[in-house]
Amino acid sequence: MVAMSVTTDAPLHGAATPAVKIVAQGVDVFYGDKLALNHVDITINNHEVTAFIGPSGCGKSTFLRCFNRTNDTIPSCRVSGSVTIDGQDIYAPSIDVARLRTRVGMVFQKPNPFPKSIYENVAYGPRIHGMASSRTALDEIVESSLYRAGLWDEVKDRLSQSGTGISGGQQQRLCIARAIAINPEVILMDEPCSALDPIATAKIEELIDDLRSQYSIVIVTHNMQQAARVSQRTAFFHLGKLVEFGDTEQVYTNPAEQRTQDYITGRFG
């Protein structure tokens, strides 16, 4: 089994991969006049899982969406401040959003496979970006993506079956395979397990841990135990502000802020 990966833009050709992947400084997000995120500073490290936790409506999903500019699709949404990936400001006017999204992939809360076959679901991204020059190349990409997503053995005999005809957990892994297929550098996950049963959740958490070696992962979750299990760094958001950010172990056992302590011990949220 050959693991081939081709990526689109490499800012540092051949050099050692940097430690810090994403840097956000002074990020404010407005919905119309309402301030949803207030002056957030954060750094996401490479090959690490960073978890955003906090009660509902605290802005963690909104902040996540800033990293691949999905907020652009909401007309009333305005983002100010700076977000850089590998030193590049992703909100600069010269940035090609389509290309950005090949570097920063996303998995959504509710699995959303296309109403196409499993094969076509995974092949969609590579197809439109012209990543495979032949059918065999495409087959390899599909196979390796499904393999890395831990789905290959389960679906290898039914690749032509509809992507919506498999179980919820499998669908989510399909979506992860789909995101991996275009070989991003960062994978954003917006509460990926909240619609899944515990067994499927466990599988996905295992997968996240595997994927860490190749990608930087940012995961939004309202499940604190999950965050504790999978992440190395944790950010706690509350009412649109970043309250505390640090090593997961430290945030959970010895939080610096009282609010963090209250949230973790279940006082609110």
Binding site: M4, G14, A98
Partner: protein, 439 residues
């Protein structure tokens, strides 16, 4: 495999390779995006343009029909021509030779005109309706007999068209509707300030006529009114009752499914087939009178029925079940629940659907052609059983007529029809906005 870059096969390890081809492809993709958006806008622009051209053409051709040309003359109500024995009998007054009176009032202005041909050419500048108008004046006011009054008389449609710029003076005389002599007389009249335009009330009040300048939409509008009234009185009760039954009372079994499928199919049947039904059943089997708005209304009612049913069902469905539950819990019978609670709440939606259905029925032509409402109707119908025509049918009839004068009449009739439709649709929207409750 990977083009334009290095490829290295390893197991498990990855190497990042830059993709040079990417730039061009990305540019193409963005260009495709721009083109796609352009096509979308183009589609919208074409649709808007089509409507604009349609409306502008109609208004441009039709707005002149609301004004008519008249000639101001001195009319001598010669008793010898009207009532030689001074009987005062209205029947005799009605039979007076008003044509001659009109003729003489015009020829009095051109005493130099002689010879039968020239005299007839002069008279042809007047409309036949001029005589009729004079008659009307005398019958209302017999005191006019024997007096000389200044009146404005209707001119023929050729003169009207000339004044409105539809007849060109440049084409040779043999191809023109008005001869050089007639043009000269008209110019003389114009110089004296005797030619004027007045509001064409007759357009709204008169019935059809062979002469364009006398034709009006009066009978067609009344015919449409009677037809739509009949349609309304038949389709709304039937449609609402059917919707109530299907929505509130009927069990979900094969029969109700059949009825539903039936209704959906009926909604898709072309309107002309309903006309055939009307012809075969209402006219031939039931022996009802042809050209009657009653029959037209019945045919249109059948055609509108599916629309009313579907709209009423939607309105009934939008009433939340909690209302029904609440009414039942205070002991109302199912019928009372519907009549006292559900139906009033669904009324705005039902009314909106009804108005929209009636608006569509107002514009329908083909079924009415089939049942014979395409006759030449001069008199304004008094009731739903009198022979009549409808406004869209009148438009169709006039559109076929070769006289130039009918083009502006047709366009003006279309403007009136569109005005009615806009009125109806706007009121439907207003009702929907004001009364529809958001749960």
């Amino acid at each position: 495999m990977a083009q334009g870059g290095d490829q290295i096969e390893t197991l498990g390890q990855e190497v990042r390779v830059t993709f040079k081809l990417d730039e061009r492809r990305l540019r193409h993709r963005h260009a495709a995006e721009t083109r796609f958006r352009f096509y979308g806008l183009l589609g919208i622009a074409l649709a808007v343009l089509a409507l604009g051209v349609l409306l502008v053409t109609i208004v441009a051709k039709g707005h002149t029909a609301f004004f008519q040309s008249r000639v101001v003359v001195d009319v001598f109500f010669d008793p010898a021509l009207i009532d030689p024995e001074a009987s005062g009998d209205p029947k005799i007054l009605a039979k007076g030779n008003y044509g001659a009176i009109a003729k003489r009032s015009l020829s009095a202005l051109f005493p130099e005109v002689s010879g039968r041909r020239d005299k007839r050419a002069l008279t042809r500048l007047l409309s036949d309706g001029a005589a009729r108008e004079l008659r009307g004046m005398v019958i209302t006011n017999p005191g006019l007999i024997g007096s000389s009054q200044t009146r404005s008389l209707l001119v023929s449609d050729d003169v009207d068209m000339l004044r409105k710029g539809h007849i060109s003076r440049d084409i040779p005389e043999t191809q023109r509707a008005l001869s050089d002599k007639q043009l000269a007389w008209l110019d003389a009249l114009a110089e004296e300030g005797r030619l004027k335009s007045s509001f064409a009330l007759g357009f709204f009040t008169s019935g059809d006529s062979r002469e364009p300048e006398l034709a009006g939409i009066g009978s067609a509008t009344m015919g449409s009114l009677w037809t739509i009234l009949t349609c309304l009185l038949l389709s709304v009760p039937l449609g609402v009752m059917t919707a109530v039954y299907l929505e509130e009372f009927a069990a979900r079994n094969r029969w109700t499914d059949l009825i539903e499928v039936n209704i959906n199919n009926l909604a898709a049947v072309p309107s002309i087939v309903f006309g055939l039904l009307g012809l075969a059943v209402f006219l031939n089997v039931f022996g009802m009178p042809r050209s009657a708005p009653l029959v037209g209304g019945m045919v249109l009612a059948l055609m509108t029925l599916p629309t009313v049913i579907i709209a009423s069902r939607a309105a009934l469905m939008s009433v939340p079940p909690s209302t029904r539950d609440a009414a039942l819990s205070v002991g109302a019978s199912p019928m009372q629940v519907v009549l006292h609670h559900v139906l009033p709440l669904a009324m705005p939606g039902i009314m909106t659907g009804t108005i929209i259905g009636m608006a569509r029925a107002l514009g329908e032509t083909a079924p009415l052609l089939m049942i014979g409402m395409v006759a030449f109707i001069v008199d304004v119908p008094d009731g739903p059983l009198d022979p009549a025509t409808a406004l869209p049918v009148q438009i169709y009839i006039w559109a076929d007529s070769p006289e130039r004068g009918f083009v502006e009449k047709t366009s003006a009739a279309i403007m009136v029809l569109l005005a009615f439709l806009i009125l109806m649709n706007t009121s439907a929207v207003l009702i929907r906005q004001r009364f529809e409750k958001r749960w």
